[in-house]
Symmetry: C2
């Protein structure tokens, strides 16, 4: 049997430097645990635009479709802010999500014990927090048609369309219920059914999937604005939250920030199973490309390293090895190592991206 | 000259009981400050549905159009959850906003000193916080067409349309810049221009209004997901935030919760000036109808009372009287009075809605 294949798309900003550390971790698994991967690399986002005039070439897209898992760094940066919408760095990422049909985006918001004091929230509100936001990732207002800026009378109008079919809601609901069964067995679904018809359909389908196939899972519904409030007030009330693409974007970012561990949080975007039984999959940190600190060796590689841990677990059935990596990260944090983004307390000296990578390899 | 006119729409849940306290405050101004109002009352939301089969009758709508200001309590409740979309309680509120053309929704997120410890955020993150979210309130995905649940092949699809014209963006941007000039002179505009064309137009128009007519105001742009993060991390970086209807819904609720003062926060929804120079206006608390505690005398009337203070300031040019009322509220809080929603510390006994009203009247 050939080695499982990985495509690394480091992207822009701090993407390449954090991905360098991930490569070292991947190599470690090949050398020390005999878990070898065929790794290829390619461009996405602004980096791809600079070289090819497009944020994702058809060749790269084809490679992404062919591998067992994609690891992505981050895309975007002020340099590209004024590009035409169709070639913005983000379009590369969105094309990957859409064409790989990665409908289920798992975004854990977890508070690392060693970092609980780093949150803007009080310790007791976040310590031990461990929730997952399941965000629908291939539909909704991100992709609905019609969209664009049109002339109407003597002014312009900007239009986007929120659009969800029953089957799109059904499949992401299932993935949330499945996940909940492996965790706290509780799902909270969020929409604006009081204002949006697409939210009414969302609520109805989630309830139906629940009643028919997951009656054992505790299900509740919440308006997304109340959800944003409750996340800020007492996030531990949740276990799994399932929501649409746009709400998921805001809510998962807020939740991630609340943990105080933003530079630490990985994500998995999963699609349907491929012929080999593995799901189509892309793994990426929750944080962005952080152009302000790019190239300075200041970035925190942990979110990206933990994204590889998620790949071990969800794509390669190596839950134990994933745990090994997660434990190594916990140990390094408990030892007091901090990259610049994690410096809250006085007197702590930040380590560089590379030094953090070194420490994690040593802990492994 | 006749007295200025007020229409009170107490609505559902805790709406009526908090509005009872507001009426006493209004009466106090008539008796003690010779500020008399012609007050009428009517139904909205579930209360209107129960009586008339619609959450807002045409007669009530006409009254709202005719008065100088509307005071609204809250709408909605589980009793109405399964009503047809077109007669849900929320439709009454949305009709008022739309037909009165209340495009600029001012939502202060302010942390009351006496309550800083009540926030889930650390004291230094929220103490002294005083920002305003200006939410566009009459357009966007709340009102765009097409909308509905449609049959497509053999499944249903839920559709809503985000839609913004240049002039809609222009006018709400102006109201944000005007407000900023009276405050910290700083506006941050939030959208998802990296994903949505309507966001691109939003950013462009806000920038244009700024460059042409408000170059003295400091303007920045932020993606709404990053905005959600930054609100949770360090809200004091903001002064005025301007954003669309849906983002404003989530962001203002999150911001309100962060202050720890949710039961305290008023809002103003303003439209264009009427013939008498006053803007069309509706004032309501940020909190909802809280059906779980309705009718028990537990509700906090302060948000609704402070909404009347906003009316004094924005509709009736009585800034000093508004400040008097706000000071009375501050004093009562400083004295340690707390309704049940504000009980965090041990050993504090909550006061009732009525007792809180009494104390504020006494402080006046
Ligand atoms: C970069 C951007 C297109 C993206 C999104 O909006 O989905 C990002 O914010 C995310 O959450 O992954
Ligand atoms: C009640 C509901 C229709 C409303 C909204 O979504 O605008 C509320 O959440 C608000 O923020 O005023």
């Amino acid at each position: 049997m050939s080695n499982p294949s990985l495509l690394i798309l480091a992207g822009d900003g701090i993407g390449p430097e954090v991905m360098t550390e991930v490569r070292r971790v991947i190599d470690w698994y090949g050398d020390k645990r005999d878990l070898k991967f065929d790794v290829s690399e390619d461009l996405v986002g602004g980096a791809a635009y600079d070289k090819h005039g497009t944020p994702l070439t058809d060749e790269t897209m084809a490679k992404a479709q062919a591998v067992d898992a994609v690891l992505l760094g981050a895309v975007g940066g002020p340099k590209y802010d004024n590009l035409d919408f169709s070639v913005k760095p983000e379009r590369g990422l969105l094309r990957l999500r859409k064409e790989m049909d990665l409908f289920s985006n798992l975004r854990p918001a977890q508070c690392f014990d060693a970092l609980a004091d780093f949150s803007s929230l009080k310790r007791d509100v976040v310590a031990g927090l461990d929730i997952v936001i399941v965000r629908e990732l291939t539909s909704g207002i991100y992709f609905g048609e019609p969209r664009g800026i049109f002339k109407e009378g003597n002014e312009r109008v900007g239009i986007n369309t929120q659009r969800y079919t029953e089957s799109e809601i059904d499949r992401v609901a299932r993935s949330a219920f499945e996940l909940a069964r492996k965790r706290g067995n509780k799902v909270c679904s969020m929409e604006k059914a009081n204002v949006m018809e697409s939210g009414i359909l969302w609520r109805e389908v989630v309830q139906k999937v629940h009643d028919e196939d997951y009656p054992d899972v505790e299900l509740s519904h919440m308006y997304a604005d109340a959800g944003a409030m409750q996340l800020c007030r007492w996030p531990k009330q949740f276990d799994v939250i399932v929501t649409d693409n746009l709400f998921g974007d805001l809510l998962s970012d807020a939740a991630a920030m609340l943990t105080g561990s933003l530079g630490m949080l990985p994500s998995a975007s999963l699609g349907a199973p491929m012929a080999n039984g593995r799901p189509k999959a892309l793994y990426e940190p929750v944080h962005g490309s952080a152009p302000d600190i790019a190239g300075q060796g200041k970035a925190n590689p942990i979110a990206c390293i933990l994204s590889f841990a998620m790949a071990l677990r969800y794509s390669f059935d190596q839950g134990d090895e994933a745990t090994r990596l997660e434990n190594a990260v916990e140990k390094v944090l408990a030892d007091g190592l901090r990259t610049a983004d994690l410096i809250g307390e006085e007197g702590v000296q930040p380590v560089s991206t590379r030094e953090m990578g070194d420490a994690i390899l040593a802990a492994l």
